[in-house]
Structure formats: C-alpha cells, structure tokens
C-alpha cells in the first residue's frame, strides 16, 4: 500500500521505526472523560468501563468488523439463511442482519473481516476499514456518473475514481457534445431515450448549468438508399416513443434556412431524419457536474493515477495496482473507452473491440445563426454551433486503428470541402483548432456493458462514437448493477456474453456517421 492510499486502510497502518501509530475511534476522548480505561487490542485502542449495574448500556463498537453485502435476492437469501427482513441471526460469533431483499450487513470481530469478505465473495464491502469498495477506472463522464449514482442511489461508501490524466481528458473532453436518441434498433433507441431524459433534468439535479441546448438534430439523406435507412429509424423511433420523423427538402429548408437545399450541390439533399429533442450540451460541464456532486457525497477522485494492473484471485477481483500504490477492492468498473482493451487485458477478459481515431475541429466564434445539428453520412460530416458561437464539427472515424492522437490535414480539407457545399455561408469562417480522440468500436456498433467472467470486474466499453450521449444512463444503470447485483433490463442486450450467444444488437446500418 502506498502512502497515497494509506488513509483508506487501517490495515495498512504499520509500526515502523520510531512511529507507533494506533487506531482509535473518534469517541476516545469522551470515553476517557467518562472514566473508561483504554488499552490496545489488535492495533486498536479500545475503551473499557468497569462493569456497573444499570438498566441500559451504550458501547462504542467502531473497531468491530462490518461488512456490507449487496447481491441478488437469491444470494442474500442464502447468506442470511432465509432470515426475514430486518432480523439478525448469530452464528459462530458472526451476526448477519438482512436489511432488504438485496442487502445484508455482517458484524464480526475485527480480525475476521478479511476471511469473511473473501468467503462471501463478490458484492461484499468491508466497511470497517481499508478498501475502496468500488474502484472506477476512468474519470470521464461515464466514470463520474457511475460514481455519483452509486453514492447517491445506493449509498455506497469508499468509491474511488482513478484516471491516468486529468478528469475528462479522454473522450469526454474531445467529443462534439451531441445528445440524441434516434437510433436504429429498439434496444438502442430506448437506452438513449432514457439518457436524453436524464440529461434534460441534469442541470437541476447536479445544480450545475450544463447549457443543454435542445434545438433539434437533422440527419441528411443524399441518396434513396440513405432515405430508406432514415425511414426505418423514424419508424423504430416512433414505435418506441422517440420523437423522430422523415422530412422533405422543403421542410429541411424551413428548419434550417442556411442549408443549400437546391439542386446545385454535388450531392443534393433528398430529405432528412428530424429529431427535435436532439441537442448539444457542454461536455466538460457534464464531467465537472457529476464530479462535484460525487465529491460532495464522499467519492475519492484521484487524477494522474494510472492503473497498472488488476489483482484477481480465484476468479475474483481483489484490488488494483496503480503508479501510486495498490488499492484493495472487490469491484472494478472499467470506464476507459479507447483504452478498454488494454484495461481488460489486465484481467484476461478479451474484448471484440478495435480502437480507432476520430477527429474534430472548431472555428473562431461568430454570431450564432445555426441552431440545428446537421449530420450527413454521405458527406461524412456533422456540425453544430455552440452558445459561444463556435462551429463544432467532425467526421467519421478513421478506417485504421491505433492510439495516436495526431491530427491530419486531410481531415480538415475534406471536411471543409463538403461543409461549404452544404452551408455556403461558412466560406469565410475559420478553423481555429483541431483535435483527435479515441473510439472503441464494437462489431455491431452497440456498447458492451455489465458483468464479465471475472467476478467483480464490470465493463463499460464499445462506445464507438456515441459514448458521451449515453453518460447519464450508463452511470445510472451500472450503479444499479453494482448496487443490486442484478443487470438492469435496459442494458441486458448490451452484455458481453451476446458475442458468445450470437445475440448482436446491430446499429451498423445507421452507423456510418452517427453523431
């Protein structure tokens, strides 16, 4: 255990040289004031009182081992020997209290915590001391949201979020901030619709204005083939309750007068998929908002802390190694997008994912005049204008895989060429800055979320170009998964096992440039 995380773990407190650190409860002074004698037991200073006759006693049991257990109904039932809710049973000097259908607490002698936790296995969190119960790798929007909902909705303590860089340095700070839910599959549409709904109230929930600007999203069709795909998306969306429809070129003109809807462009606009709730939101603010509230709820956020290994014993996660020391934990959630395959390699969980780069750029700010998000799959471009007046633009992922974040000139050349065909007014707009991010692309263009064959190792990967828009619902559902031990229905289709079970959720038809 390194000095950085020592504060998490009384077990790591050691006698060394001149120092003899002791563990004491915050009540110690009161105990002494009340006449108790204090003596050392197993490294703890424990207060004891002379026995006096009386009708009621109060004892400080801080040093007693406490284990929080979360799991499926069946597991909790087994562990508590089918005890009724709210009742405790004593067996072999260990008290087991069944709090809810899916939660129990074990109280035992301090020196038995480690053995018992191991025996109980996945879902057990030692609350007495030490560990982070849950370590989240990646302090982006997904990691922060997961930490927030775990703390907020499930009351989990000892959550640590680690990032090898600063928070939001990866895809969360490099995406182009689009939020929408008009996906091709019913599974995808429902999932992202739930995300949009959370986004709509997020500024209020986190008390941080994320500048969510819902002015609508237009996906243009330049061929009858792509118009067909739009029709299909519109129908799937309509049937699952997502606001989305196909509009004609005249309607496109009305919605976005700046677009050249004439016959002149090389690829004339034949129609579009219109999605009124689509919008943009300040991406950094999403990370910061979740981070701020998570921090307030006691989540530990450690930047510039790189995970270098994950310890697995008997098929179960027992801790993570970092460049700043080890953290013992029972659950690791990997929320690292482009680096997913690398983190999963640490626990030998193979992922069917390839990492590609995606580029984006932004112009100097000018007076806002474009309020719709415009996407064209045929031209490989998309654009929106932020509340600051910058045009934010991007393209499709590069066909080659790799981790280099170098930007290419070809990207802004091709983007500019196609962009001024669509929006001739942009001729004099100037590109100020371009950048590159990593995308973890799955075979069916749907995410991979949930449990793996390593107990306690939870993944959140395969986000391709659409991870940012899912951030709130990812956090919400992953927190439910870890908090209850049960996979929520909304993310069941995205489990890793689908690749073994041949149950793909294919978004490929709509994927080309699906921002």
């Amino acid at each position: 255990m390194s000095d950085v995380f020592a504060f998490l773990s009384p077990a790591a407190v050691r006698r060394d040289g001149d120092y003899e650190p002791l563990l004491r409860t915050p009540m110690e002074r009161s105990h002494i004031a009340a006449g108790a004698t204090v003596e050392e037991v197993d490294g703890w200073r424990v207060a004891s009182y002379d026995a006096r006759p009386g009708r009621a006693w109060i004892a400080d049991v801080s040093p007693i081992g406490k284990i929080d257990i979360r799991g499926t109904r069946q597991r909790i039932a087994e562990l508590t020997a089918n005890a009724e809710l709210g009742t405790a049973s004593l067996h072999d000097d260990v008290w087991t209290l069944r709090l809810t259908e899916t939660r129990a607490v074990v109280v035992c002698a301090n020196d038995r915590v480690a053995t018992l936790s191991e025996r109980i296995g996945y879902g057990a969190t030692d609350m007495t001391c030490a560990w982070a119960g849950v370590v989240i790798v990646g302090a982006g929007a997904h990691g922060m949201a997961t930490a927030y909902y775990l703390a907020k909705r499930h009351g989990l303590k000892r959550i640590a979020v680690l990032d090898k860089s600063y928070m939001g340095a990866g895809a969360s700070g490099r995406n182009t901030t689009i939020v929408r839910s008009n996906y091709l599959t019913p599974e995808g549409s429902r999932f992202y619709e739930a995300s949009v709904k959370l986004y709509e109230k997020l500024s209020q929930e986190l008390n941080f204005n994320m500048l969510f600007s819902q002015h609508g999203h237009l996906t243009l069709a330049h061929s009858d083939r792509s118009l067909n795909t739009m029709m299909e998306r519109a129908e799937v969306n309509r049937l699952v309750g997502v606001d989305s429809k196909v509009v004609t070129p005249d309607e496109v003109k009305e919605l976005c007068p700046q677009l050249d809807t004439s016959e002149h462009p090389t690829f004339p606009i034949l129609g579009a998929l219109y999605h009124p709730p689509g919008g943009v939101i300040r991406h950094d603010a999403v990370v910061w908002g979740y981070g701020k509230e998570a921090d307030r709820l006691g989540v530990e956020i450690h930047q510039y802390t790189e995970v270098t290994g994950i310890d697995v014993e008997n098929g179960r996660v027992t801790g993570v190694q970092t460049n700043r020391g080890r953290i013992a934990c029972g659950t690791v959630i990997s929320c690292v997008a482009g680096w997913s395959t690398l983190v999963c390699d640490m626990v030998d969980v193979p992922l069917p994912i390839t990492t590609h780069i995606l580029q984006a750029c932004v112009t100097e700010p000018v007076k806002p005049l474009l309020d719709k998000i415009i996407v064209s799959g045929t031209l490989h471009i998309y654009i929106s204008q932020s509340d600051r007046g910058e045009f934010v633009m991007g393209s499709e992922i590069e066909p080659y895989s790799g981790y280099s974040t170098k930007s290419t000139f070809r990207f802004i050349e091709d983007l500019a060429m196609h962009m001024i065909e669509l929006l001739p007014m942009l001729g004099h707009a100037k590109i100020l800055r371009q950048w590159t991010g990593l995308c973890d692309v799955s075979p069916d263009y749907s995410p991979i979320m949930g449990l793996t064959e390593v107990e306690g190792f939870v993944i959140d990967a395969g986000w391709g170009t659409y991870g940012f828009k899912a951030s709130p619902i990812v956090g919400y559902t992953l927190a439910d998964l870890v908090g209850t031990g049960t996979t929520p229905d909304l993310i069941h289709p995205f489990r890793l096992a689908r690749f073994y079970e041949d149950e793909l959720v294919s978004e490929r038809g709509a994927a080309a440039v699906s921002h």
């Binding site: 500024s203 309509r238 910061w288 001024i420 004099h428 590109i431 371009q434």
Partner: protein
C-alpha cells in the same frame, strides 16, 4: 496625441508616392500603399480597435504582428481579420466586430457590470440560470445573442476561386527573419531546392522593425534571391502535419508542401506583463511600438513609459526616443545598475520596479510602478510593456518534438527534435532573455491574462479555488488559451499564474505545457476546401440518357438514370414488349489461370468448378461471418477463365477481396478488374430475341442458346459476350462489350427495337421488376448480418462441397442453431403500400421485423414487398401487421413464391 509620419527612411514598409482610400466604421481614411488597416488608422489618430469578448472593454493595438486579438475586425464581409496584418486596398470596407451600437458607445459594456449575483466572473454560466428549467431556453437566447465575434453573411456564395498546388522541395524554411534567411541562403547555395515562407509584410523578421536592421535585411534578402530561394511572402504555414506535410497559404492559393528538410525559424513571441488594467488602449508590446515607429514611420505617442522584464523593453525605449517620443522612464523588474544605453539616451532606468496598475479611462494616461513599498506614477499616453519572449515552438510540438524549460533563459527550448527538422534562431533558444512575469500584483483592477477571452488573474485563482487544480482543468474552465490567439499571448502567463496559485515551481515544469494544436493560424473553409474535387463515374451512354429524359441520380460513385420520366410505362414495356437498361456500372472481373475454378470454389458458397463451358450461374459472396458481402453472376468462358460480375457499388471491394485472398492462398490465379473497360446493356422483354437476332449471326434460338447460356457473338459488328440471365424476370440478354463501342451499340439496339416499341428503363422500374420476381437486392434487402440461409437463399449454400470456403464455419453453426429471422415476401391486404423502413409489429407491440422493399405493382394490381420477419411469422400465408407512420398498421400476408411468373416460364421461353 501624436500624428503624421516621421521622415522617410530606407526600408520602410510604406510607399509615400501612392495613397489608398478605404473606410473604417463607415468613415473614409487614407493611408499609403504598404500600410495595414491598423497602421493607417493609427496614423490617423484611431486608438480603439475592438471591444473585448466578454466585458466589452475598449482595446487598442498591442502586438501589431497578427498575434493578439485586439485588432480583430470585419473586412469586406469577412469576419475575424487582423487589421494589423491586412494591407489597405482602395475601396476596402472595414469595421469593428463586437460592439453595439458602435465601437465608442458600446451598450453591451454595461451587461458585464449589471449582471447580478456572480457578475460575469469565470464559469458564471455554470452557476446561473439553473432554475426554473422552463426559463432556460429564454436565458439561452440571451446568451447566444451576446456570443461570437463578427457575423457571417448568410447569403454568402463562393465567388473567388481558391486553388491547391502540390509542391515538393528539398528544404522548406518557415520564418523569414534573420535566422530563416540565413538558413535558406545556405541551403540554396548548397544546391538544394529551397523555399521560404514569411507571414510578415516585409522579410527580415525583427530586422524589419528595428531601427538599424535595414542594411542587414537588404543584404540577406538579396542573397536569398540571388541563391534562387523561392520566397512566399506574405504567406503563412498552417502547421506541420502527417509526414511533415506543411500547408502554406498565400492569397487564394494553398500550397501543400512536402520537403525533405524542414527548417523552423519561427522566432519568438513577445509576452505581455500582468498588472492592473493592462488592457487599456495605449498599452502596447515593445515590438508593437517599434513596428509602428520603424516599419510604418509613425510617432506612436508624445510621452511613453516602459515596463519590462527584459531586453525588449530597453530596445523599445531607445527606438521610441529615436522616433522623437519623450520616454519618461523604463521600469525594469530586473535588479542591477542602470543600462548604459539608456543613460546615454538620458532615459531614467528604474531597476527592480514592477508595474502595479495602469491609469486612465478609455485610454491609458500613465502607469504606477513599485519597488517594495516605493511607488512611482509615470504619466504617459503610451505604455510599452514587455514580458520577454517565448520561443514559437508550436510547429515543433505538432511535428512530434518536445520541449524543456531552460532556467537561465526562463523559457522553453527544443529538447527532442524529430528527423528531418532543424530549429534555428530565436525558436531554438538563441534570443534575448526576459525575466519571469510578476504573477501577483496588489492591484484590485482587472489584470488580464487572456486577452481573447477576458480571463483575469482573479478568474484563474477562482478556478483553482473551485477545484480545477491543474493547467488542463483550469484552462478548460476559464477558457484561457482557447481563444483566437491560441495561447500566443497567454500560454506562458497563465502557466505562471497557475503555478503561483498552486504553490508549484513553474521553472521546474511542474505545471507542464498544453498541447500545441493545429492549424497554426485560423484558416478559412474557402482556403481548405479550394475547388472541391468530387469524382463521378459516367457510363459510355451517360449523355444519351441525359438527352433522352433520364433523371440522373447518384448510385454509389456513378450517376445513373432513375427513370426516364415514366417509370410505370417502362415497367410495362419490359413485360409486354421490350426494354433496354444500361448496366455498365456492374463490377466486372476476369478470373483466369490454372487454379481459377478452385479459387472460385473457395470464394463462393456454391459450386463453380463443375460448371460447363459457356454457362453462367448466380453467386453470392460471404464474409468470414457468413454474412452476404456481394452478389453477381459468374460465366465460364473457357476452361481456365471466368467472367465475374459484382454489384455496382461492390466492384472495388470485391476486387480487393479476391486479391487479398489470393495473396493468402497463393493460388495460380490472375484477377483483373475490367469494370471501366466493358460496357453492359440488358435487353429484356418478350420481343428481345426477335429484336436482337437481325443484328447478329449468333443463333439466339432457345435450343441453341438456352436460359443461363453464355456466348461470344458479334452484334452489329461489335464483339460481345452475351449472358442469358433473368435479371428482370423476362426473356433477357445481358450484352457485355468494349466501352468505346457502347454508345454506338446502344443506339443500334434502340433502332433495332423501335418496331417492338423498345423503352429505355431506369433504376426505379428495374427495382419494381426485380421485386415482382422477389429478387433480393444485396445492401437493400440484406444488411451486414444477413446470411444466405436466412436471406431466402439456402439453396445457394453447398455444405457438401469438398473444398473449404469463406464463411463455411459460421454458416454451419447457423445451420445447427436454426434460423431466427427470415427474408420473406408479403402481399398487402388493404391496398396500402408501406414505406420502406416500416416495421413488422410483434405480438407485444414492439418492432420484430422490417420492410426492406415495397412497391405497388401495376402489373399485379397489388402492393408487394420483401421483409425480415421472425421465423415464427415466416410460414407461407402468415398474417403480419406492418407499421404505418400515417395511421393504423397495414395487414399483409407472407409468401415465399415470386409474385410474378413464379415458375420462371417467361425467363426460359
């Protein structure tokens, strides 16, 4: 206020024999040829050039070198031009960007002062307007109205012609200062083809704006010309990209430079000092004042005070004195004795003094400097500030090089330099040292760090207090370094302020540096796009189609006739008499060699090894996952030669696929893509034989040339390969011929068919005809996961073939697993025609399938289509419900038989 110009001097930028008249803010001004908008206006007494981004504070000239944002303006309808880099031109119209109603009286200035609560301190928008949620759209409207610099003309259309030129040289030098010119001359004299790029209006870098630099500048420029250096000036390099690609922009031309050697002579950028009110008009960098005085020969002020932390301030003081400006004092943060040169010029040198705050309302009237408890007020109408200079190393970083902090010089210098690059001159660290900036000043006035975004020291401190405790986070929260100057004016100062706030050692690089991103200068779309090249492929009969009413639409890389304006009539003609369609876009591959048969056996799930000569067979190609990649026909034209067609959009991919596998298997096969060389027409309809026979001696009778025959024939004198295939469900001949003879044969076929009422037909009628036969269109009816088993073509998969074939493993698995979804036909029961993309509704109300093709067939009098349905709904006659965006679901029944001529009698007739 100073006015007029100084006496003429050799090497000055202006030509006093020619005047130029232009407008600023609607008023006429006159300058000299060689003036920039900024220099001409400054000479005419203009001091306020812009309003700042957030607080709308008045801003005057600062760098006069295109680095800072202070003179950003709108020129001839183009926003965000730098007045100090834009030469004046006769009749040019220029104006401010960010003020309302005018630059002098800007009411938006009040907004910054009037916003209640947080004011407009950093991140205020994250903390305000949160509740109630329903009012946010209103707040947002207000925010959007206040945002942005300059307006784009919504009706703008491209008129200027922009060009791209590809250039290859031995040496490319970026930067035409002393070091750059020297490097260029040396390279050119060594026989290397050398080009040099300089963004300034004159060559020579600092030689051009120092008062005694002209002779050396002239000498170097002459040497460069004599040595044959190609000079691009004024022009700017847009960055260093992949493979050392350097785009260079000059006028309306972009040069894509590739050089064997890249020399970075990009110089250094003078840095502002941080003190109270350091953004008042009249506070200028040393280089700015010297450019006005020496390059444009303007006396910048009557009285000037200098605050500096380095040599630049002293040089500025000397140059200003030489230009007749009264220099009241030089306050220098460095300790030590007074500088001899200043003493000689009788200028007071206040060593150890740092600036506290500037005085003045609307324009600077002086500056308070202090040393410990001692304060001095220097009255002046120009305050020159200089915080030393930072090497301009952005290009090096973009190219993958790295920097290290040099404590002696107090600046970053190159550390690792990639192969093929040399850094010379000030960028390499060979420059006058300038001390670090005082990052704490007791002034309560705004101390601007980032001039683009109005970020002050207080904003940065606040961001640190709120937990954004690193350079990267503070940068994103405050937006410091993220404005139009891209950090040139604020990168170093913000790092120092943050280091100070966090108690870090800025010298020890504990704060780090942020990424230098491309492009190096803001670059317009017009430049980057230039003339857009969007290649289109045209068949040999393209113009014939266009002249005969063909409605040409994109189909992959091709333009093809959608129809000829009468789709229904075109369908009827094929059924009743004769139609002709141009299918030249089909991919065409020749596969030949001793292993040709074996090769195709491995590529395709069905058999080709047992094919008889002069026969043609339909085939599909699957990927490793058993999913359909493409389809087409394969004709065996000789023992070792096959003629393969692919879909129109799949030609390139199939060629690659075939060649890739051949490289893996190393078979004795040659694969040639002849798509462009061969035209193809399909003559279809009951009268096809009758119409075609007169043009050829080849016996077309059913006995001699039955269905699925392939034969070589001369038609109207043109050598052709005829494939008898059932492409659109009627008797048909697909004729392949040399592209060059395409238009000729098309016209001959049209003429031969005239008596039979031949109709050319397009893609839309072809789709209806194919749908009537329930022919699957790969890519429309199938997607990336469709296998032939489920896509209604199990008969094509020969699992008993001896050889292995691509996709076999997965298809065998699918066979064991059983089908889940099926591609089926359907007939609508209520006369409605569903739109393609409609969903088959499951028993639980969820989508469980989708409509991939759907048309009303005039011939059948029914709405028919193809759909993916779950196996449970795939039995012949099953009733399904199809969603309809307009209303109630459409009832339909499933069928597996072709809608038209299900037994194929017409094909074989």
């Amino acid at each position: 206020m100073a006015s007029g110009r100084l006496v003429e001097r050799r090497g000055e930028a202006i030509n006093r024999n020619r005047t130029v008249t232009f407008s600023w803010e609607g008023e006429q001004y006159t300058g000299y040829e060689g003036d920039t908008i900024a220099s001409a206006l400054y000479a005419a007494g203009v001091r306020v050039f812009s309003r700042s981004f957030k607080y709308h504070r008045r801003r005057g000239l600062m760098c006069v070198a295109g680095q800072c944002p202070n003179c950003i303006c709108q020129v001839d309808g183009e926003p965000t031009k730098r007045a100090c880099m834009t030469p004046v031109a006769q009749g040019m119209e220029s104006s401010h960007l960010n003020a309302w109603p005018s630059l002098e009286r800007d009411l938006l200035h009040l907004v910054g002062q009037a916003t209640p609560g947080f004011g407009m301190q950093v991140g205020f928008y994250y903390k305000t307007f949160i509740r109630p949620r329903r009012l946010w759209p209103l707040y947002e409207k207000v925010l959007r109205n206040a945002a942005g610099l300059g307006k784009l003309d919504e009706d703008h259309r491209r008129t200027d012609r922009y060009e791209k030129v590809h250039r290859h040289v031995d040496t490319l030098v970026i930067g035409g200062g002393e070091a750059g010119l020297e490097a260029a001359v040396e390279a050119a004299q060594a026989g290397r083809h050398t080009a040099l790029v300089e963004e300034g209006l004159q060559l020579g870098g600092s030689l051009a704006w120092s008062h005694d630099g002209h002779p050396r500048r002239q000498e170097l420029a002459d040497a460069a010309r004599a040595a044959g250096v190609e000079l691009f000036q004024p022009a700017y390099a847009g960055g260093v990209y992949e493979g050392l690609l350097v785009p260079v922009f000059q006028g309306t031309t972009m040069y894509r430079f590739r050089a064997a050697e890249l020399v970075l002579a990009t110089g250094a950028i003078e840095q502002p000092l941080v003190f109270g009110n350091n953004d008042l008009p009249g506070i200028m960098l040393g280089g700015g004042a010297r450019r006005l005085a020496n390059q444009f020969r303007i006396r910048p002020a009557d009285e000037a005070a200098v605050v500096t932390s380095g040599e630049e301030g002293i040089l500025a003081a000397l140059d200003l004195a030489a230009a007749g400006v009264e220099v009241v004092a030089v306050a220098d943060t460095r300790e030590g004795p007074a500088d001899q040169r200043l003493e000689d010029a009788e200028i007071e040198h206040l060593t150890g003094f740092s600036p506290l705050e500037a005085k003045g309302r609307g324009a600077v009237s002086g500056v308070i400097v202090k040393r410990g408890g001692e304060k001095r007020t220097l009255a002046a109408d120009l305050v020159v500030m200089s915080g030393g200079s930072a090497g301009n190393t952005a290009f090096l970083s973009q190219a993958g090089g790295s920097l290290r902090f040099d404590r002696d010089q107090q600046r970053y210098v190159p550390d690792r330099v990639p192969d093929g690059i040399r850094v010379v001159g000030a960028a390499a660290g060979a420059a006058r040292a300038g001390g670090a900036v005082p990052s704490k000043s007791a002034s309560s006035c705004k101390q601007v760090v980032c001039f683009c975004e109005d970020v002050t020291t207080k904003d940065i401190s606040l961001s640190l207090e709120e937990g954004f405790r690193s350079l990267e986070l503070s940068k994103r929260y405050t937006t410091v370094t993220m404005g139009p100057c891209q950090g040139r004016m604020c990168h170093r100062n913000s790092g120092l302020v943050i280091a100070d706030g966090l108690g870090l050692d800025a010298d020890a690089q504990q704060v780090g540096v942020t990424t230098a991103r491309q492009p190096h200068n803001p670059t317009s779309f017009a430049h980057l796009a230039a003339r857009g090249y969007e290649p289109v492929k045209r068949t040999s009969t393209h113009h014939w189609h266009a002249e005969h009413g063909g409605r040409m639409l994109w189909a992959g890389d091709w333009k093809r006739p959608y129809d000829y304006g009468r789709a229904d009539g075109e369908v009827a003609a094929v059924h009743d008499s004769l139609g002709l369609i141009d299918v030249s876009t089909l991919g065409k591959l020749i596969v030949r060699g001793p292993d040709a048969a074996g090769f195709l056996e491995r590529i395709y799930p069905n058999r080709f090894g047992d094919m008889k000569l002069a026969r043609v067979r339909y085939g599909i190609v699957c990927g490793d996952d058993g999913a359909i990649l493409d389809d087409g026909t394969v004709a065996r034209v000789s023992e070792q030669e096959y003629y393969v067609t692919t879909t129109s959009s799949g030609a390139g991919a199939m060629e690659q696929w075939f060649k890739w596998w051949n490289a893996v298997w190393k078979m004795d096969v040659q694969i040639v893509n002849v798509t462009s060389a061969i035209a193809a027409f399909n003559l279809a309809g009951p009268s096809a034989r009758e119409a075609l026979q007169p043009l050829t001696g080849f016996d077309l009778s059913n006995e001699a040339f039955p269905y699925l025959g392939a034969g070589h024939a001369e038609i109207a004198g043109v050598p052709c390969l005829i494939l008898r295939i059932g492409f659109v469900g009627e008797l048909g001949y697909e004729i392949h011929l040399p592209t060059a003879a395409g238009e000729y044969l098309w016209e001959m076929l049209m003429a031969a068919g005239a008596d039979h009422g031949v109709q050319p037909f397009g893609l839309e009628p072809q789709r209806v005809l194919r749908l009537e036969k329930m022919h699957v269109i790969v890519g429309q009816d199938t997607n990336a996961e469709s296998t032939p088993l489920e896509a209604a073509m199990p008969w094509i998969v020969k699992l008993d073939k001896d050889s292995d074939w691509i996709g076999r493993y997965h298809i065998e698995y699918m066979k064991r697993r059983g089908d889940r979804n099926m591609l089926v036909g359907f007939v609508c029961q209520n006369g409605s025609t569903p739109v393609e993309g409609s969903q088959v509704i499951g028993d639980d109300g969820d989508p469980c399938g989708r409509i991939t093709s759907s048309r009303f067939s005039e011939r059948l009098g029914q709405s028919i289509g193809i759909a993916w349905v779950p196996v449970a709904k795939s039995e012949e006659g099953t009733r399904i419900a199809i969603s309809d965006p307009g209303g109630e679901p459409i009832p339909a029944s499933v069928t597996h038989r072709a809608f038209y001529d299900p037994d194929g009698e017409r094909l074989r007739s």
